[in-house]
């Protein structure tokens, strides 16, 4: 069955370092992937969309890659800050926009 998986364990990094989050998919060839940020008690907020024919997309300190060979998307936050602490969700194209549980990022000062 089609599956989107993110590392459910929290990622803890020090301020200033680059955070890298992974989204893997199986039995699936999504035309694009979306990344969202969710803070506790709030709805997800859209960050970036990357299409299958785009290797990389950037927005300020954020960078997303899409490797259709590895069936993987990586989400990078460079020069991370404590304010980047949140849960980051990967979502494939779908009427129901099925999200995984996401990966919780904690940036320590």
């Amino acid at each position: 069955s089609q599956k989107i998986e993110q590392n459910s364990e929290a990622l803890n990094i020090q301020e200033g370092k680059t955070a890298t989050l992974t989204c893997n998919y199986t039995n699936y060839s999504p035309a694009y992937l979306q990344w969202y940020r969710q803070d506790p008690g709030r709805g997800p907020v859209f960050l970036l969309l990357i299409r299958e024919n785009e290797k990389e997309k950037r927005k300020e300190r954020l960078k997303v890659t899409f490797d259709t060979t590895l069936k993987q998307s990586l989400f990078h936050i460079t020069a991370s800050q404590p304010a980047d602490s949140a849960t980051y969700l990967c979502a494939p194209p779908s009427d129901k926009l099925i999200f995984g549980t996401g990966t919780r990022l904690q940036v320590f000062p």
């Binding site: 859209f46 779908s94 999200f99």
Partner: protein, 114 residues
């Protein structure tokens, strides 16, 4: 409006009571979604409206849950005879155009069933 709004922001009810949750999508957005999120869990799809098409109700967990969308805009999610396991944050999202595109979420309604 500028964004998706939901009301109430918090709702505490007693087991067995009915509740109604409201969502005002972004003006002009044709698609509207309801999700719920239990503490520490991922988003669970409930129902999806697209234009005048019949809604996709495949995510509704039981027949106690229903939703309607009037005039292609405001939506109401109704939970009848609430149970404690219905306690969660209920999130509404809207999107412009075809499904699967970027969704804009409201702030959610936190429902607590005592």
């Amino acid at each position: 409006g500028a964004g998706v709004s939901q009301s109430p922001s918090n709702k505490v009810t007693e087991k067995g009571k009915d509740v109604e949750l409201r969502c005002d999508p972004i003006s002009g957005h044709t698609a509207l979604y309801w999700y719920r999120q239990s503490l520490g869990q991922g988003l669970e799809f409930l129902i999806y409206f697209q234009g005048n098409s019949a809604p996709d109700k495949s995510g509704l967990p039981s027949d106690r849950f229903s939703a309607e969308r009037t005039g292609g805009s405001v939506s109401t999610l109704t939970i009848q005879r609430t149970q404690q396991e219905d306690s969660a944050v209920y999130l509404c999202a809207s999107t412009q155009g075809t499904s699967g595109r970027t969704q804009f979420f409201g702030p959610g309604t936190r429902l607590t069933v005592l």
